[in-house]
């Protein structure tokens, strides 16, 4: 299988308040279609690593490849374009724009990419919402939905540009067990049926154990 993301000897330091090495010599590959969970205690560096993988954090040593292209050293504008096209994000909080309808929220990344007409994007957005069982909520303002629904809209938004990678930072951290199960099923279906690659940081043991692969971190190192 193709490697979609790989890191080579990534080191990361925090300088404030005192010099502290958060990540030590992180090297691993992620294959296409993998559902990968990163676990570890608070402060183990898993979230820090995720934000480096996401290209949003550029202050690290080592090399990051996404889709076999070197990301390290690119300008923030170039990285923004890459994120727009290749990476979808799901966070602990949904971060939907409250003034916009669900449909509009889902459409934003595609409108930004600007490869399709607004009509086509709308059709795609409906299709993504349907996958997540939210087609009836499409025109409601994002702020009027329940927490679980909002998180699913956020997943639909992450999917709109058919990204190579979906990254989740505690994607179920704010959900009850029922909604956690729903979100997990969605992720699993995305990897099984749509060949999507998912990297998720989680505290949830059950969630991690059900995924394809677990990376466990401790004190800035991958221990398994």
């Amino acid at each position: 299988m193709d490697t979609i993301l790989s890191t080579k000897q990534i080191d990361k330091y925090f300088h404030d308040p005192t010099e502290f090495q958060v990540l030590k010599n992180i090297s691993f590959d992620v294959k296409k279609g993998e559902f990968l969970s990163m676990v570890g205690k608070s402060g183990s560096g898993k979230s820090t690593l995720l934000y480096i993988l996401s290209t949003m954090d550029t202050d690290y040593k080592g090399e990051l490849y996404i889709d076999n292209k070197l990301m390290t050293g690119l300008s923030t504008d170039q990285l923004a374009e890459i994120r727009n096209e290749k990476i979808g994000f799901v966070f602990q909080f949904h971060y939907l724009l409250p003034e916009f309808s669900c449909l509009r929220n889902v459409m934003i990344p595609a409108l930004k990419l600007g490869k399709l007409s607004e009509k086509e994007i709308e059709a795609r957005a409906y299709q993504k919402l349907e996958i997540l069982g939210l087609q009836d909520q499409a025109l409601k303002p994002a702020s009027k939905l329940s927490g679980g629904q909002q998180q699913r809209v956020a997943i639909a938004r992450a999917l709109i540009n058919d990204p190579l990678l979906i990254m989740g930072d505690e994607p179920t951290g704010n959900l009850d067990s029922k909604n956690t199960a729903i979100v997990f099923d969605i992720f699993q279906e995305l990897t099984r049926n749509f060949g999507q690659t998912i990297i998720a940081v989680t505290h949830d043991e059950d969630f991690a154990h059900k995924s394809d692969r677990i990376i466990e971190m401790k004190d800035g190192r991958i221990i398994s």
Partner: protein
């Protein structure tokens, strides 16, 4: 619609109260700016017009000369140690030629000669000292628009009556004179002559109204025991009064006579005007600037409120300049709404003030719709709103999404 614009539009419309407050700020700032500047132009126009009732743009006359040392040598002792005015005649030699020369300048509109004579007005026992101005009635009327401030009698009769006199309302009142009454004048050369009052004027400047009278130029020359070539002043009007000083310098160089622009002659008034201009410009600009601060504040607030939106947008691939565009669009939309409102409000304010009668020689409040000031206000307003939006937008563009999203 571009996605950046769409987001900006949503921010503008979703919090209508904030937007309305910001727009109101711009409307007020804008309208007061335009209004005050139009008023300034109106004041200048009205003040100038009252000055130009008795002063020409440029006055050409023979200046007194101080006697010079016979030997121009600084090292030696001057031969004349107590220089005095050389006793020369203060007439302009060959005035017709000088007038022709001045008329040839392309900036010049009207040129008319004038003879000033200090006189005593006598009526029975009462006596007033004053100034009788010998004029060519037609030309002088073109220059000073004398007919516009005549309150009694007919100015045109002065042309046909060599013994006619048009007096200031103050003189008429003090000497109890009406049209067709006789008035005796004694000139500085001791000539006595009786004139017939054919008109009374009123400039509302009491110093002028109490002392000044107009007579024919030939009669004035007779009062001074002089011939028809005796001219004390040549009055010159130019196209643009603001440019009078330059033309005066030019005339002085060509004719060799002293040419004095009206600003030089009315330095106090010009200084007063300048102060008024500085104060009004400063105040109106400050008001507009305050409106800018209003926008800045509200944009800053929006940026803080929407910091999560900004972070997620940046995570999803919006660049710094996209974020700047969103917030600048929001600021400029507020600015444009405010500018349009401000123009409407300024027009309303000016229309109301225009119709207020203030009396005196001013009449209606001197204000008008000055297109230039509207354009100026709009331009400055938009520039200020742009920067008021740009600064918070720049801050938003520099938001680090990691810092926000990791919380």
């Amino acid at each position: 619609m571009n996605i950046n614009t769409a987001i900006a539009k949503t921010y503008v419309t979703s919090n209508k109260k904030l937007t309305a407050v910001a727009v109101m700020g711009v409307v007020l700032g804008m309208s007061i700016y335009i209004f005050m500047n139009c008023m300034l132009v109106g004041f200048d126009k009205s003040a100038n017009s009252s000055i130009f009732k008795s002063t020409s743009h440029i006055r050409v006359y023979k200046d007194d000369e101080i006697s010079k040392p016979l030997i121009e040598d600084n090292s030696a002792k001057p031969i004349i140690i107590n220089p005095k005015t050389v006793p020369v005649n203060n007439t302009i030699i060959n005035p017709n030629l000088v007038i022709q020369t001045i008329l040839r300048q392309k900036e010049v509109t009207v040129v008319t000669p004038q003879v000033n004579s200090s006189v005593f007005y006598n009526n029975g026992k009462s006596q007033i000292s004053g100034l009788s101005v010998g004029i060519k009635p037609d030309e002088a009327n073109v220059m000073f628009d004398i007919k516009s401030f005549m309150v009694e009698g007919n100015f045109d009769l002065l042309k046909s009556n060599q013994n006619g006199i048009v007096i200031g309302s103050g003189i008429a009142e003090k000497m109890n004179l009406a049209v067709n009454d006789n008035l005796n004048l004694t000139s500085s050369k001791g000539i006595n002559r009786t004139f017939k009052v054919i008109g009374v004027f009123k400039t509302n400047n009491s110093a002028i109204d109490k002392t000044k009278s107009y007579i024919n130029i030939a009669t004035a020359q007779q009062l001074l025991k002089e011939g028809s070539s005796y001219i004390t002043d040549i009055n010159v009007n130019v196209i643009d009064p603001e440019n009078a000083e330059n033309v005066a310098t030019k005339i002085e160089a060509i004719t060799g006579y002293k040419a004095e622009g009206w600003k030089e002659a009315n330095a106090t008034y010009v200084a007063g005007n300048k102060m008024r201009k500085i104060v009004i410009t400063f105040v109106s600009f400050t008001i507009l600037l305050v409106a800018g601060f209003g926008i800045y504040n509200i944009l800053n607030m929006t940026v803080s409120q929407k910091i999560n939106d900004i972070a997620i947008l940046k995570a999803m691939g919006f660049k710094g300049k996209d974020v700047i565009r969103i917030f600048v669009t929001q600021a400029v939309s507020i600015g444009i709404m405010g500018v349009i409102g401000g123009i409407i409000m300024a027009i309303i304010l000016i229309t109301i003030l225009k119709s207020i009668y203030v009396g005196g020689d001013i009449g209606y409040f001197p204000i008008d719709y000055e297109f230039k000031k509207f354009v100026q206000g709009v331009a400055i307003g938009l520039v200020i709103t742009f920067f008021a939006g740009y600064i918070p937008a720049k801050k938003a563009a520099n938001v680090d999404p990691v810092e926000i999203l990791r919380k």
